[in-house]
Symmetry: D2
């Protein structure tokens, strides 16, 4: 399965930016999982561009569940959600199609697909495809919450501005779930917004780092070779457009630590196993240890910028330059947040299903 992901639960994404619709198929879902359409709408709204710090184009993202749900619950058969693309004014992409936008997949896709790729608006590489992923993820997030498992992500860094770290996980996650701009410190949020607006004014864009916490996980999930929790999460995360780094716990900071600093010592606290620190991000040997799962995702600056850029025309095979038209986000880090949460929900739900079976989930009729 080249374009699918997961073992016990699998997700397949389809669609192109300017085709009739995009969509997702979730397979392996247990029967009896409640579908909360309001939650799906909410998650989609968090992915949507907002005002100045995002593209002005408003995407309504009306979704349709066309299979796998009956009377408000999953049936246990493949669930397909589609989101129609609004009719695009027939901009002529063919004139500029061969001018490879730097940082985008135009040229590499051309090499892979021999020119048959749908090049309009990024085609299958468009960030728009993540809307289907977010819709599917919303279902899994609800299901996990029924099991006491909560996922939350904040912008730990954006345009060089740092957010404070997680403090009270449960409270912070609840707070973030309502924020369009998911930053824990109000002060940091202001500074980030300023930097983003400044970059926008310059026709430029910024990147950032997302930090995710998962609480409520049982110990003992994951496989040593090769389906470690880190392996599965990174596999999913690195499919998100713009993601170029993933780390767990202390991540790259481990490189300068000593073993005596890095190791998380175990202890019993009120008959529960805890670790004094959590540098390993809740994972030992690829397997959850019951502590909060913590990981970071590096998102590069939006490659679509207004500044003129040097590039090639890969059909004429000549050097040229390019100024990208249209509206685009000076920052996608905050919008990528729900995509990260969605993929994380998929991996966690998949691992739980493999361990406990489909009967773990859902209500019994």
């Amino acid at each position: 399965m080249k374009n699918g992901f997961g073992n016990a639960i699998t997700l397949t994404l389809f669609g192109e930016s300017h085709g009739p619709a995009i969509g997702a198929v979730l397979d392996g879902l247990a029967p009896g999982i409640k579908i909360e359409e309001e939650r799906i709408r909410h998650q989609l709204s968090l992915r949507r561009p907002q005002g100045r710090i995002s593209t002005a184009r408003q995407e309504a993202d009306p979704f349709e569940i066309i299979s796998g749900v009956f009377n408000g619950f999953t049936t246990g058969t493949p669930l397909c959600i589609t989101i129609p693309n609004s009719a695009q004014h027939s901009k002529d992409y063919s004139a500029t199609r061969a001018k490879a936008r730097p940082g985008h997949a135009d040229y590499s896709a051309y090499c892979k697909y021999h020119g048959f790729e749908d090049y309009r608006g990024g085609g299958h590489f468009s960030g728009r495809i993540t809307a289907a992923l977010v819709a599917a993820g919303a279902i899994l997030l609800s299901a996990l919450e029924q099991k006491g498992i909560y996922i939350g992500t904040h912008m730990s860094s954006c345009a060089g501005v740092e957010d404070r770290p997680f403090e009270d996980y449960k409270k912070d996650i609840a707070f973030l779930s309502e924020q369009v701009f998911p930053v824990l410190s109000e002060d940091s949020a202001c500074k980030m917004r300023e930097k983003i607006e400044k970059a926008a004014d310059e026709g430029d864009s910024v990147g950032g780092i997302l930090e995710t916490a998962v609480i409520g996980l049982p110990a003992g999930l994951g496989e040593p070779w090769f389906d470690s929790v880190e392996s599965l999460l990174s596999h999913g995360l690195f499919s998100i457009p713009g993601v170029k780094g993933v780390s767990f716990g202390a991540g790259f900071d481990f490189a300068a630590m000593k073993g005596s600093e890095a190791n998380d010592s175990f202890c019993y606290e009120k008959e529960r196993v805890m670790t004094a620190t959590n540098h390993n991000g809740g994972i030992n040997g690829g397997i959850t240890n019951g502590m909060p799962l913590l990981f970071k995702t590096a998102v590069k600056p939006t490659p679509s910028i207004y500044k003129e850029q040097k590039t090639i025309d890969f059909i004429k095979e000549e050097n040229t330059s390019l100024q990208i038209q249209g509206r685009h986000d000076p920052c996608i880090v905050h919008r990528a947040r729900v995509v990260v949460d969605s993929l994380c929900a998929l991996v966690i739900a998949d691992l739980l299903t493999g361990r406990f079976g489909t009967d773990y989930w859902g209500e019994k009729a």
Copy 2:
């Protein structure tokens, strides 16, 4: 396949540190790939501990290919390599088995396997299992070199000391392939060794960052969702014990860059498509663009240290402390290098097979 990895070519690892043998099965290999046993031995020697900066225990790693090879070439049927474990003096692990070594999988494995895990010497979580991976990887590295594809890894950082970056890829990769301690700058190598020895003297350990380059790759490998080159590589890399971060190109540094700095502009140079910079590490939209593939792997400090550590006894369910006996590496970063190269070879060979079929490989009889 929980403990296997790959699509067109798959690798399954089996074995425990103190069982009769460890091994690997490579499936999906084309027929007609030449087996260079000397290369396998060389790669295994690079993984082996050396003198002061590694454990003193010498592992001879004699391997046996028990299937899938005939008259010196792959047959196209599953190739199984085993490496017998030398008879271990019967140290009694049962006394200390329930004392969870901080930073190790003892406790998480106990939660997963309900106490049936082979706890002797780390069992299936032991770094020793990577010997089988390295043996399998050596076959793929040879096969890739026949196609003009070369992989090399250096310690870009260790114990806080930085190495110089890649300069002349081909030359640097050739240099590294002969080094037991893979550092490009001689001066950096000396400083790293000093730091490692100092940590060893203190009964402590250090971590580091590996940087890998792959040259000679065609453009057009990888899938947008979900088998991006980044996804597949990170999936493999995060299975290596101690790996806690993976990034591509500028990786986490993208977070503080502007789009105008981060984008790699395309140009034709002598009729070849190149990029002026390579911040994206040779990958756009998850697909190779023909530039060198560049990634970093963060390795945490060896969790086995001599210093006394607080921990739990998870069978008695009480707090206790632990001093790890035996010989162990103050640094495994340099040894992890061949494991990274091996997994990278697997992913690249897998992608090439999916794109060009099994007939791409091997000699025709």
Copy 3:
């Protein structure tokens, strides 16, 4: 992937009989495969019920390709086809839902899905789902024909009446491709129709056997363990509702043969390798040998019959009886034919892609 099928090319089916739409996702298709919409329509028309020997309900089967096709060619990204379900008059299924129709999945589905299954009109078990499979298969059949590979199926037996065997494969396959009632002997066709109509008059139904030939295949496709050509084909075929037997070449007749009769001796004819007989149906050791691939598929009588049947009410947990209302086919064997051809095309295309890569297919732009 529970509800998907294939390795290099995968097919996922979704949808319920009375939901908004059914559909299929084809993943792993090469770019540049021409989409012949007329062919899709033709194949769908062969699956559609016709007059007396099928249900009178006319299904128009208008399909929509919502992704993976651009300017009339596959893009190489997942291709999703949907077929909307026409608005069903709101028959109340809830009254009879717990009366398990004998020979149907009502009860076994209830046990699997805990009552959350969409029970209307068979839900995800409905033969209607095969329409999406046929639409997807039509694309693959066209692509195979470009490569000189032809697939054809006739009713070798129906209601106890035998058809003549294949004689001139190429001619017979071309003939069958135009027949709604795919029988090679006109005389047999008449007798089968009579028997079917008689069964219909009695409120009963009949079964039959389909025989399929594939010509133009290269030798050397398939894997010894476990993806033999027989394994892959049977895996697909046994998913078709009503299929209860699959055999290759002489199949069950081998049981009464001697080795000296069963073996197909090889010979060179005009420099091509042939076998004198083809009892093995073109497969030796699970791998194609270049002779026509031959297999049979046993289809049980339509389980929906008008006669009253004893059964249970699995919610009230009591014995009861049932008379199935509505229109249903006295025979589905002829309609199952295109489903068999479609699955066969998927398996063959999958095997060719694994062997020769995606670049084997399609036009180069």
Copy 4:
């Protein structure tokens, strides 16, 4: 995974007839499954040739479990079993290697592997590989029996002689588990042996049909598309050398039945759901219904016969003839029985794991 099989539990086979060893890797096994070595030996003895009706070559089949078992229980990590090949006297196969044995894979393997295949004694296509499968299957059969699930197979037909059908499943299965020549009727067994010996005297061989019953299965196992119980079982069964037909329940006899005869009516008997007949072999819509699972496997006559046969030399590219030397079985049907049981155990264990998770199995420490 080309040469592996299974979803939650996977089996990979490796090895060649004349290589150092053959073996199997079972992955996905739960921890805590008891290993009964005596049972493995017993199952291997049932596969071994016996006296006149099999080849005289005695294979001792000593097996070694080299991973995944600790203190007599599965650890939950991949279990590898190997069976060394006894040193073969160095018969020179190279002289006859290009003479394609009719009914064997010599020629099709040559086309697939370009001549790199290990041609000695059938290589990876040898029936000997099934020994590893039987060893792995023995572990699963024991585990299933702990859950009250029993599998048994008899020769329902051999050389034209019929056995009686199953009557008392539990008793018949227990009886068969002790029989080297698994026939329920003593009279039929005698006649079959006579026919086999007569064929042996003529330098010929015979085929047959195996019928398998599985009792104790819960209702609700299997998937509609494409992992129906029939699909999964047939996928496995058609990998066994010599298998050319698989059918469920009435199988090919459905073709001549009416719906009113074919349908199995449901009823409650002592509060359990039963069907009055079991033409559907315990499966409706691809999903178990709680009745005994019944299927048939057609095995062709051993292709190795002493009679002279016409064939080709595919290297010289000329017509020739061949007389197969050495010892070979006039019948392998009875030996194939344990292979069928083993694969069936794998499929059932896989389905149960997918439904109920790994925690379904094994003892808790």
